[in-house]
Symmetry: none
Subunit: 180 residues, 4 copies
DNA sequence: TATGAATGAGGCTTCATTCAT
DNA sequence: TATGAATGAAGCCTCATTCAT
C-alpha cells in the first residue's frame, strides 16, 4: 500500500515490490494471482480499517456530533500513522475505477460495507434531529467523505503547517455543520 | 481529456489518441513534446475553466452565499456538460501527483490560480461575517472542493437518481453551512 | 515457418524471430497481433500451398492413378525445396491442436479446403473404379496423408539415403494400392 | 502421459502433475531428475507397449497378413482404451524432436526397438512373398505407421462416426495392400 | 506540416527447479 | 522419502517516441 499510494498503480511494479518485500518476483505470485488482485486485497484491507472504526463508533450510545468527532479523530490518526491507507484508497481505488470494476452491480463492491456504516450514522443523526431531515444521501456522503478526503489529500502534499490531528475539532465542526 | 478521464492516463495511448483525433501519431508530437506534457496542457485547460468561473463570480458585488450558489451552479453545469473536465482533474491530475510534480515549490503549480481564487472567496466571506472568522484555510478549502469533488465522483459512478444540476441548492447549502 | 518447424512453437520465441527477420520485436506486432495469430497465418499459407496443388491436379482430365502420382510429385518437391512448409504443418499445426482450436465446428477450420480437395480426388477415383467402392473416407484420408506425412517425417530425420523425389513412384504406388 | 497428450509438453506443468498425482512437487524430483527426463520415461513406456505387442505377434507362426491384422487390432484397442499412449507418442515425442534428441546417432534412440520389430515383420512378409520384394524400408515403414498414426489422429479429433476398433479390417486391408 | 513504420526498454506473468525442513 | 515455499530467468506483449519520407 505504501508504494501504490506513493507511486500509483502503474508506477508500482512487481519487481519493485519484490525487492522491497525482499521476496522474489515469483513468490509474490504464490500469494496473489495478479497485480490487480494484490491491489484489490489492499483495498479490502484499507476499507476494513475505516469500516471497522465507523462500525464501532456507530454502536456507541452517544450523540451524532460526538460520533462525527470520534470518526474524524480515528481518520486523522490513521492519516498520521499510516497515511498510505487513506492515500491508497483515494489515489488507487477511487482513481482507477476501471481496474476495480466489480462487474456485478453498480460498482463499489469493495467499499460497500463502509458505505453502509455511513448510512447508519446519517440515519442516526437524522433520527435524533441533529442532522437536517430528509437530506439527500449522496450529498451527505460527499460532505463527510469529501471533506476528509480533500484534507488527507492536502496533508499528503505536505503543505499543512500543524500536526494533522490538531485539526480534528475544526474539521468535525465543519462536517457537522454541513450535515445540520 | 475525454480519454484520459475515461480510461486513465496509462490506458490512454498516443496511438489511440491519434486515431480518435484523426491525426497521425507523429503529428501529435509536432504539437506536444511528450505525453505528459499533453496531459499537463489538459490540466491547465481544465484548471482555467474553473478558475475563470470563480474569478468572474468573485468580482460580483453579491453575498458570499450567493457566490457559493453561483459557483456550485457553474461547477455542476460543467460536470453535466463536460464531465471529462472535472473527472480528468480528479482522476488524472490529483491522483498522479508524481507525474505532474512541478519540481519547484510544494506542488500545485498548475492549479495555483484556482487556489488563489478560492482564497479570495473565503476572505470575502469572512470579511462580510458570513463565514466564521479565522478558520483554517486548508479546512475551508477542503469543505468547498471536497464536497464538490466527492459529488462529481459519485455522479461519475452513475448512481445519482436525479439530474445533477438539481442538487445545486442542497450542495450549496451544505458548503455554506460548513463554512459558517 | 522455418523456425516453427525446426524448433517447435514454444521454442520459437518472438525475440528470436525478430532477430532473424531483422525486425524489432515491436514491429512484428504491427503485422501480427499475437504469436499464435502469426502461427495461424503460417498454417493458412502452408495449407494453401497443398490445397492449390491438389486443386489444380483435380481439374485435370487424367486417371486417379496419375493424379496421385502428380500430387506425390508436388508434395515431395515441396518437402525437398521447402521442407519447413510440411514440417511446420506436421509439427506445429497437427501437434498443437489446442492452440489452433477453431471454436466453431469440429476443428480443422484452417485445413478445411485441403480436406475437401482430398474428398474430390477420392470420389473421382471411386467413380472411375480405380479405388475400391464405398471405402471409409477417414481411412482413405489416412492412407493418403499418413503415408506422405510419415515419409516427410523420416526425411526430416535425415535418415533417407536417396534424394527424396526419387521415392516418388514407389510412394505413389503404395498409396494407390492402399486405396484400390 | 494423459496430461502430456492432452495439453502438450509445455502446458503440462510440474505443479499440475504434482497436484494430479497427489504428490508434492519436490517429490516428483525424487523420481525424475527433470521434466524432460520424465517425458522420456513416458516415451519409453509408450514405445514398450507397441514394441511388445509387435514382438509377440512377430513370434507367431501365421501369415504376414494375419500379423498385420493382429497388430492393427492391438493398436486400435490401445487407442480406444488408452488413447493417451498413442497421442502422447504422436504429439509429444514425434513433434518435439529437439526435446528428445538423443545426441548420439541419427535420433530415434527411444523408439529403436519398435523400429526393429517393424523390420522383422516386413522381412517376414517379403520372405513369404506376401509383400512385394525389395521395397524401400522407409516407405513400408511409412505405410504401416503413417496410416495408423493418421487414423489415431483423426480419432483424437472426435470426428469418427463409429467405434474405432470396428475400422480394424478395412485399415488392415489398406496397409496390407500398400505393402503388397 | 503530416505520416506511420520501426524501435526497444520494460512490465506482467509463468514455471522448472532447489532446498531447508 | 516427502513437502511446498522460494527463486529468477525468460517469454509475450505494450507503447512512448523517433525519423525517413
Amino acid at each position: 500500500m505504501k508504494f501504490f499510494a506513493k507511486k500509483g498503480f502503474y508506477h508500482t511494479t512487481i519487481p519493485l515490490l519484490a525487492k522491497e518485500l525482499k521476496m522474489s518476483v515469483g513468490n509474490i505470485y504464490n500469494y496473489f494471482p495478479s497485480k490487480i488482485y494484490l491491489a484489490k486485497s489492499a483495498v479490502r484491507f484499507a476499507s476494513d480499517i475505516l469500516t471497522s472504526s465507523l462500525h464501532k463508533i456507530n454502536q456507541k450510545n452517544i450523540s451524532a456530533k460526538e460520533k462525527i468527532g470520534l470518526f474524524v479523530q480515528d481518520y486523522l490518526e490513521i492519516t498520521q500513522v499510516s497515511p498510505e491507507v487513506i492515500e491508497f484508497f483515494l489515489r488507487v481505488y477511487l482513481s482507477n475505477r476501471d481496474l476495480f470494476e466489480d462487474n456485478e452491480n453498480g460498482g463499489f463492491q469493495l467499499a460497500e460495507a463502509f458505505v453502509k456504516e455511513v448510512e447508519v450514522l446519517l440515519q442516526y443523526g437524522m433520527k435524533h434531529h441533529e442532522f437536517r431531515k430528509s437530506q439527500d444521501f449522496f450529498i451527505s456522503f460527499s460532505v463527510l467523505t469529501g471533506i476528509l478526503g480533500a484534507f488527507t489529500f492536502l496533508s499528503g502534499e505536505n503543505i499543512l503547517k500543524k500536526d494533522i490531528v490538531s485539526y480534528r475539532d475544526e474539521i468535525a465542526d465543519a462536517i457537522y455543520k454541513g450535515l445540520s
